[in-house]
């Protein structure tokens, strides 16, 4: 039940990011001037009939955000009560702290009239929250747990052999995608989304012929997209060549490739459609999906090592990281499983 709930929380975070994208894409960020209330009403008592114009998007975002916040509170408590691994419980607390911070940032950005720095931080932290909920969903899943049990190497095991090249390139790619999303958020919140009005060229050239700060930000996002696409292609190629038999790696790679192709298309369409709000918002949420797919691949690539360090309490590192109480819990769990 916990894995299902964790997956539900992760999915709801994606919905929240889409709702946030709608707010920015429709320019509705200040259509509700007060916070945490909505035009003086407590958020949940605001009449549906009054959700008109920009209020619809902004208020909907607040409702979804508070729902996700509540779900993360439940998840953190659930992990606290049912999860034997201390580091997973800590992930729950971290997700809770992140979503509370995220809510406060959202309020501040409204009350301070959308300052770029706060709005960009709000957008960037949203990705972190999504990464945390996705990680929790992954590491509580049965597949993750079964993947490294039994721990004795077995030719028929689903455990991929350790591949340090993959481990490294997966981390680099995930970080690069996150940086690319932050650049994208900067572009959105500084109004640089149409600074280069054509696509795929830039003012008819590969490199813009003239520059200003907005053009620079916009072009950085395009250059970042090219770099990230290359990294994803390289990582995918590596997985498909060296780990063809490992479904847990191949599946996210295939999803990744589909999402990246979609993302490039949505990016181009965002420009060509003059930032149509649906296309623009889909670009935002799809970017987040590219990121968490990369994260899942990275975590699975590191799973053997993570299992050694985090899932057992035999190693000195695990003793240090997990503490004695978890050691007892893990031992108990292992014994129960045995």
């Amino acid at each position: 039940m916990l894995p299902f709930f964790a997956a539900l929380v992760a999915a709801s975070t994606a919905v929240l990011i889409f709702a946030g994208g709608l707010v920015t894409s429709t320019g509705s960020g200040l259509s509700v001037p007060d916070w945490p209330n909505t035009y003086g009403w407590f958020m949940w008592t605001f009449p549906l009939s009054k959700m008109v114009g920009g209020i619809f998007y902004e208020h909907l975002h607040r409702l979804v955000a508070s729902t996700v916040g509540f779900l993360i509170v439940v998840l953190a408590i659930w992990l606290r009560r049912a999860e034997p691994r201390r580091w997973v419980r800590r992930l729950g607390y971290l997700a809770l702290a992140a979503v509370i911070t995220q809510g406060i940032l959202g309020g501040i950005t409204v009350l301070w009239y959308l300052p770029d720095a706060i709005s960009i931080a709000h957008a960037s932290l949203a990705q972190i929250v999504f990464c945390l909920t996705t990680t929790i969903a992954l590491v509580t899943s049965r597949g993750w747990k079964q993947g490294y049990e039994p721990r004795i190497p077995d030719p028929g095991s689903r455990i991929p052999p350790r591949d340090t090249t993959l481990e490294r390139i997966a981390i680099i790619t995930t970080v690069a995608i996150y940086v690319q999303i932050v650049i994208g958020a900067t572009m959105r919140h500084t109004g640089a989304g149409l600074a280069i009005p054509d696509f795929p060229l830039s003012f008819g050239h590969v490199i813009p012929t003239h520059w200003d700060p907005k053009i620079a930000i916009h072009f950085a996002h395009r250059a970042g997209a090219a770099a990230v696409t290359l990294l994803i292609a390289a990582t995918s190629g590596h997985v498909l060549y060296h780990h063809r038999g490992s479904r847990e790696l191949v599946r996210p790679v295939i999803l990744w490739l589909v999402l990246v192709a979609l993302q490039v298309a949505l990016g181009g369409l965002t420009v060509l459609s003059q930032k149509h709000f649906i296309v623009n918002s889909l670009h935002v949420v799809n970017g987040a999906l590219v990121l968490v797919t990369s994260l899942v691949l990275t975590l699975r690539a590191h799973r053997t090592r993570l299992g050694d360090v985090l899932e057992t309490s035999h190693s000195p590192a695990a003793q240090t990281f997990m503490g004695r109480d978890t050691d007892v819990r893990d031992t108990t769990v292992r014994e129960a499983r045995a």
């Binding site: 001037p33 945490p36 035009y39 003086g40 407590f42 008109v52 114009g53 201390r86 009239y113």
Partner: protein
């Protein structure tokens, strides 16, 4: 571990309590209480001279603003995001370019940009009214003096937010969720022009010119304007349009004299 969990739980509880404590229920009037900032116009430092314009010698500058070329047609506004607006003002068109068949341009802010020297003018106590009616601002362009109250009214049976985006003055954003609500705002610094918008209804925008003197006008739909009561002298007159840009002319007026100016914007 247990202690850190309790700490976390208390944090969440406190945050929830703060959120609940901030709930205003139905008390929207308090929520949208008008901000009070600025107040009287700042005193001009040094050699400021209180203006005493002799009506017997005052001059007038009149004129007309026209557009050379084929005027772009006003576009219908899509109001479907708010059923009230759709019903209240079906057929609303964009007010960016109000250009008559003879090329006369309305909604142009014409004002004395320079030439009044150190004269100071007291701010009128009578408010200038900006109404939100039929889901658009009336008027679309207006002028006001520093320190003069701007009364913003919601005549619509729908929610508006009044969002002023000045650069020299202080930005503000107030909600007016109930029909008939009013708020008053004053500006502390002259600024031409300040955009106003409603973030609920993306098509709603207005422009306000804030000056430290009373010599300004907004052209009527026939493109005409009149600046009355000017002390004799030489002035720089600027005509500002939200899309066509600005034009300036210099004019010298003697006692009781009336001068006529013509501003022509091109596509």
């Amino acid at each position: 571990m247990r202690r850190s969990f309790h700490l976390l739980f208390c944090t969440v509880l406190c945050a929830t309590s703060v959120a609940l404590a901030a709930c205003g229920g139905g008390n929207q009037t308090q929520q949208t209480a008008p901000p009070t900032e600025g107040g009287a116009a700042p005193a001009t430092p040094g050699a400021a001279v209180p203006a005493t314009v002799d009506a017997a010698t005052a001059a007038t500058v009149t004129g007309k603003v026209t557009f050379a070329g084929t005027p772009p047609p006003a576009q219908p506004v899509k109001l479907s995001s708010d059923p009230y607006c759709e019903k209240a003002n079906a057929g609303l068109k964009t007010e960016t370019e109000v250009i008559g068949s003879d090329g006369s341009v309305g909604n142009v802010f014409v004002y004395v940009k320079d030439g009044l020297g150190n004269r100071t003018f007291p701010a009128p106590s009578q408010p200038v009214v900006l109404d939100q009616k039929g889901c658009h601002y009336t008027p679309h362009v207006l002028g006001i003096q520093v320190g003069q109250p701007l009364q913003i009214v919601n005549s619509d049976d729908t929610l508006h937010n009044v969002h002023g985006l000045p650069k020299s003055n202080k930005e503000f954003n107030q909600g007016q969720p109930i029909q008939g609500m009013k708020m008053t705002h004053t500006f502390s610094t002259k600024e031409v022009m300040i955009p106003f918008k409603c973030d609920v209804h993306g098509w709603m925008n207005a422009w306000i010119g804030v000056l430290d003197h009373p010599y300004y006008a907004v052209t009527a739909t026939n493109g005409t304007f009149s600046l009355k009561g000017l002390p004799p002298g030489t002035y720089t007159i600027e005509a500002w349009h939200e899309k066509l840009g600005t034009q300036t002319q210099t004019v010298t007026v003697g006692e009781k004299e009336t001068k006529d100016l013509a501003f022509t914007f091109k596509a």
